[in-house]
Symmetry: D2
């Protein structure tokens, strides 16, 4: 690319091309608070290492980040435990849907990776051992690395997740039965449902992701949060495990480390090169934003940001 | 057999032969209350259609009936729902350990049969819809059909099960996530942990089983509890599913419909012919009483009570 | 029942009642030779310990016995190896369709029971070690125990099975990879496809089953083929495993040890009491004869032959 | 890195550091021809886009490339079918060992990706439809892209694989039963066993891989073999699926698209940047070269060739 000034038109062009896809797919409906979202919402934001942020569409409107929060809790837990983290959770793709309990039985309570729900519960449990109020610690961390002090939970969403979260409760109890949760099940679930309910915009998410773009450092944070090597490893897990059981297809089509959420957001990061976030609420069968994935594919194809 | 008077010596002889086996196997240890049991306990009781009861060894000492309670809750739920019961739970052997969640995922929350834990939770849920205090209703039912008014829960065991019952909590939440539990998860678990904690002796268990021996009627109960055809069907499920993933081996070696519990009891019933109960706390790898199973095998071989 | 003379009218009555069901279900279509069968065929035969044979409908017309042959090869292999047989094959229900490879992987090449295809291949392999021409030995055995010298293979069916038998070839190779087939894969498959292609009538099948009715002896055979205890054990495996993944439902509804084949036949046996065979080509989703199963259920209900 | 001249010392240094690891792990022993290899063999070769080749240790000694051949057959089949290839085989990590049949049953004969054995058999089947002598076509292709005319099969290895290849035969028959093999099973297996038996050195493998380094073109080949986009996609599949069920761990630790073989070789490629091959015969539990993986990790860490 010649200069960064070209990125806004590319983002806008990409959004126009994928806009027809927002009519397809399904908005997440397992809790009422998510199902009422306007499916025509579509936004995108790009962060470059020089600090430049480029946006298009609804890039400044907040949405439920849901599983994208798992990137930030992983960073927090990785900081806390270092490589001991990998005794509690694996880093292999699961080959199964995000909420499957089957592998957990075979693997005796050690989830395959930190981005399936089971793995994220273990990561959250680690934070429960570390903080008195883990959900507040998570929120504070995200505010700090993004530099946006008014990011917050949507407590209605958190409450609704708790009311409908039988599958997650099953998983937490199951992991506990294998001894791989230390905190009480309800504490872990509360923290987990809260982290999922955090609301951010595309622009805020790419700002929060700058800690990965800058190999572990963030503007308002004095010390390095992770080492460059640890950042690369987070990125590798995003690539191989970040988009549920479609991670292979994502790597194939898009070639970017990415983490998606059922709120319709997808956050992609290439350390040293960029962070990119897209939001479109309607999901494909794997639970990834349908138009969002296509937007990432088009953008990566045109800009050469693919890691391959 | 010539006359019933021969049965006591046979029971005694069988117990002597299997006594060395009480040194092998493992007493259930997942809750402290069960692990402290004296592994040398060994008792057996036989009930015949003429009302005769024959006992040997520790046949009058109470123990934790655990999963044997599933026979009685099945009878209660079958009475309540009739064949509609089979829309909520199957009647196929599972081919998997009693507490596996794998099949539940494949089968979308409909447990394979009422004798694996998942199926028993659904059965208990049915009773939760029927009774304000399901655990008391279960206790009352067992007191009534056995004619023993002082049978009771062991509340320490029930509490301990609740404290360590993460696997059952996982299963209940998982079934709830598929919509196959109607009552709140905690209510179902409470009733379930209580029913498992009921304490009865071999002699009391065969008396409670007379409702199956007599094709649905019990002495102190004015109306028929089940039809003869329904009783045969309960017996068939005991044969194919009553001893966890060793049911085929049980049918092969012993040839009696039976239900075992991790307290070390096994209750066997042949409608129209007899009820037989054995107790020895140490379990084999499948969770069935090791000496108890051998005792049933020897007794069935010598008396010709096998159904095959 | 008062006297045996009553049985023919019951058989006829039962066939009339189930005849409408022959319009439902699906005739096996994986090889052309089976798919061309007339779905209105319907026959039934009963053998009693006194030697009496009672028949109705198309009871004297031969059909492809398919998996019913597994009963006879099991008897042959059990004779050969005795209890050492159970080191090569289990006796637990599988909980999975008859041709599943999944459990075989978990169980390291030891099939769950001798009546799923994998188990029958191991049984046939045992006969391959015993006989130079195992398929002829199997045929000769069936001719002998039934006393019908002109029973034969349908070689077109055997050839067609071989041409379309990729799933069985997969299974045989898979078992071989675990070391649980001794003979060359092709030999085992050839013998297996031949045994499945044998054609017999209901009347001939109940005559062949008299060896189980008479606890191991057959008229034209001087020595006992199995001990009474072994016969009971074969019957128990028929009950728990004889009708694919519907064995629990069969035990529940019908209460008879039985083995079905995709040719539409079902052979039921109660040692000491009777053998019963029904034939109707259209199958239910589990691969068992639809009208045939209902006929067994009605007959068992009316005559009290159920083992429960 | 400053200049390419620095690479040979780095390769040599890395080999010295990992040499103690060659004492650990296990040489593949499922066929005698592989088990006799000298476990102290250790070699490494690097190819850079400017055509430079750097080698260390036993980089010029040929070994059995085994599954590394799957990279080349994938390129051939991708050329032939284009994106229609993905109707026959997926591109998702499997989460299971390389030779598992479990997923194949769930996925109805469409293997998860072209690098597990099942997927490679489908790829080879595609070549069987394309070429009269597919094994010769594969050999010719590898000779051509590497520019080494005397690369050849080890026919003893090919024959031995055929004699012990029951698991692969099981898989091929299983896929055929779902209709996803077109050629006769034996033809596919023959071609497959031959491609696995090809012998090449590290230096030859990185030369063959230049077609990926140069985004689809190779020196002696007039036309482009793949488009740049297709090359990136092959690389993405190598990253997510190239090292069996350890692909996530490989991406995490090493960060290079790579394909391993049980002969002890691992070929890594970053399009536009380099090809790297290592050989050490002893394998870890996942079937990847133990010392080889460590060598890649050290080299990637020191040179910054990681894609993350």
């Amino acid at each position: 690319m010649d200069t960064a000034t070209h990125f806004t038109p590319i983002l806008e062009q990409v959004l126009e091309e994928v806009r027809p896809l927002t009519l397809h797919g399904k908005v997440a409906s397992y809790i009422p608070e998510l199902s009422h979202i306007d499916r025509s919402k579509l936004g995108m934001a790009l962060y470059l290492p020089d600090g430049g942020i480029y946006t298009a569409g609804d890039a400044h409107e907040r949405f439920s980040i849901q599983s994208i929060s798992k990137v930030f809790t992983l960073v927090m837990a990785y900081r806390t435990l270092g490589n001991a983290l990998w005794e509690r959770v694996g880093r292999e793709p699961s080959g199964n849907p995000f909420n499957s309990l089957v592998q957990l039985e075979t693997d005796k309570g050690v989830p395959r990776n930190p981005f399936i729900n089971a793995g994220a519960l273990v990561v959250t449990d680690i934070l429960c051992s570390q903080y008195v109020n883990p959900h507040l610690a998570i929120l504070e961390f995200i505010r700090q690395v993004s530099g946006v002090p008014d990011i917050n939970f949507n407590t209605r969403v958190a409450r609704s997740e708790a009311q409908h979260g039988f599958r997650n409760a099953a998983m937490a109890n199951f992991i506990k039965s294998f001894g791989n949760l230390k905190a009480p099940v309800d504490n872990v679930l509360q923290a987990y449902f809260h982290q999922c309910s955090i609301e951010m915009s595309c622009a805020e998410l790419v700002r929060a992701a700058q800690l990965l773009v800058h190999y572990g450092t963030a503007p308002g944070v004095s010390e390095a949060l992770l080492t460059p090597s640890e950042v690369r490893r987070v990125a590798s897990i995003m690539l191989t495990c970040g988009t549920y059981d479609a991670a292979g297809d994502f790597a194939f089509r898009i070639g970017l480390p990415a983490k998606s959420g059922v709120g319709g957001g997808i956050l992609a990061v290439v350390p040293g090169r960029m962070a990119l976030c897209v939001w479109s609420p309607a999901l494909d069968v794997h639970g990834n934003s349908l138009a969002g994935a296509k937007a990432l594919e088009l953008f990566a194809g045109r800009t050469g940001f693919s890691i391959f």
